[in-house]
């Protein structure tokens, strides 16, 4: 029991620190990728190739003045960034990074917890993420924040439904809720080949869930100055930022686990394939951000309720038919 506890703690600490590092360098990567797509160079002054830029940014944010707006709801104002980051990090508890490896003659499973209803857990925590946005918007006592928070809530709730339904088809195909078993079920063929429409729906909703372009309405700079984090500065803002990037990693990891065979790949290298696949997804996020303009609020709602929800439902029915009748 003690050994198990220590193992989980060590894995948790390693995963959290790696995620923080990855999120910090994703900000750098995003700036470079966006710059290259716009024929610019991006940050290249701090350290070799600008590689120390995230550290410089961190120092800058840490040394900023700590302020809070007048008449803010102090408790929720300070709690909201924490919720954002916490829910994003929590998803990684159930994501399997690899099979089992032997470390110092000890069998270690490359996942923090093997939850038998992993997918339900994932959906629950990605729904909770909306609290960070809405509480930040409400407690700041600012009209821009409130508008951003409301938009975020509406968007995340309406895109949760097609996301959940598209994930249901994967559950149907795999016949299990356990993420490790879902990955193992993809040994012969990835689920993207059997459920391509689910994947497309999931991919669209994953942009909306993370509030990324083209669905970055909650923080639309041009209309809402900063959206729900207008009144946040310094490290509080940085935590929102980290939360957004960890959330990107989380939805990419879920997509890789559900549709791209998780850690499976040619040769049996423990974590490599998982990291490579997630990295490609992250690049896709940045690529789309450099290309697509923002949706209007009405278009967003139209698309979510009139296109994605019916499409996902039909897709679920068709998948269920194939599973029940054809198999």
């Amino acid at each position: 029991m003690l050994v198990l506890t220590i193992e989980v703690l060590v894995k948790g600490i390693i995963v959290i620190s790696l995620l923080m590092l990855a999120a910090a360098y994703m900000t750098f990567m995003e700036r470079v990728v966006m710059a290259r797509m716009q024929l610019r160079l991006g940050p290249n002054r701090v350290g070799p190739f600008g590689l120390l830029q995230p550290i410089a940014d961190g120092i800058k944010l840490l040394s900023k003045e700590s302020f809070q707006p007048a008449n803010a709801d102090i408790f929720t104002y300070w709690l909201a960034p924490g919720i954002s980051l916490f829910t994003a990090l929590f998803v990684f508890v159930v994501i399997p990074f690899g099979g089992t490896v032997t470390v110092f003659g000890h069998q270690v499973a490359l996942r923090i917890a093997d939850v038998n209803a992993g997918i339900v857990f994932l959906l629950a925590f990605s729904s909770l993420a909306v609290y960070g946005v809405v509480l930040a918007g409400w407690s700041s006592n600012d009209r821009y924040s409130l508008l951003g928070g409301l938009r975020g809530t509406a968007q995340m709730i309406s895109y949760e439904i097609p996301m959940g339904i598209s994930i249901l088809t994967v559950i149907l195909s795999a016949g299990t809720l356990n993420l490790t078993e879902i990955v193992e079920a993809q040994r012969t063929h990835w689920f993207i080949w059997t459920n391509p429409i689910s994947f497309i729906i999931y991919m669209i909703t994953m942009f909306a869930e993370t509030n990324r372009a083209p669905f970055d309405l909650p923080e639309a700079e041009q209309e809402l100055t900063g959206g729900y984090h207008t009144e946040y500065g310094g490290m509080k803002f940085a935590i929102f930022f980290l939360g957004e990037y960890v959330n990107m990693l989380a939805v990419s990891a879920i997509a890789v686990t559900l549709f791209f065979g998780g850690w499976l790949g040619p040769w049996d290298i423990p974590i490599l394939w998982f990291v490579v696949k997630v990295f490609l997804f992250i690049f896709f996020f940045m690529w789309v951000r450099a290309t697509m303009p923002r949706f209007r609020y009405g278009q967003l709602m139209d698309f979510g309720w009139k296109v994605l929800v019916p499409l996902a439902t039909i897709n679920l029915l068709v998948t269920a038919y194939f599973i029940l009748v054809v198999k």
């Binding site: 990728v33 290259r36 797509m37 024929l39 160079l41 690529w287 290309t291």
Partner: protein, 157 residues
Amino acid sequence: MRKTISKVASMIYGLFIVLKYAFKRPITLRYPEQKRKLAARFRGRHYLTKWEDGLERCVGCELCAIVCPAQAIYVKPAANEPDDMHSHGERYASDFQINMIRCIYCGYCEEACPTGAIILSNEYELSATTREELIFTKDKLTEKYPGESGRDPRREI
């Protein structure tokens, strides 16, 4: 339906256009290390040029100060003594100041000058920490040796 498909297709096509640009050469100039190649007649800071024999071209006529639309030039003329010749004329500029903050780099002074003494060079990096540093006095403006500014010291004007 066909319209929707063409819309989605154009979105995907757009993605690949953007990706194509990622492999092009960035057009950014890394400024302090790389500098833009300027046109030969680019108007930068002023120089008071010299003749080939080392005497100053400026004869203290003050035409540049008169023509200057920003009134950035101050010239204090003085008479040349036979044993202390500064220029080929009767007079020379004993003091010559240009306020580089007021100057609009129009080049009228260069056009007005009868001896081709004042010219605008290609140097544009004129930054300083105080206003006083940007009032260029005669010792700063005059060429250290004939031809320092890049103009041929043997030219007529």
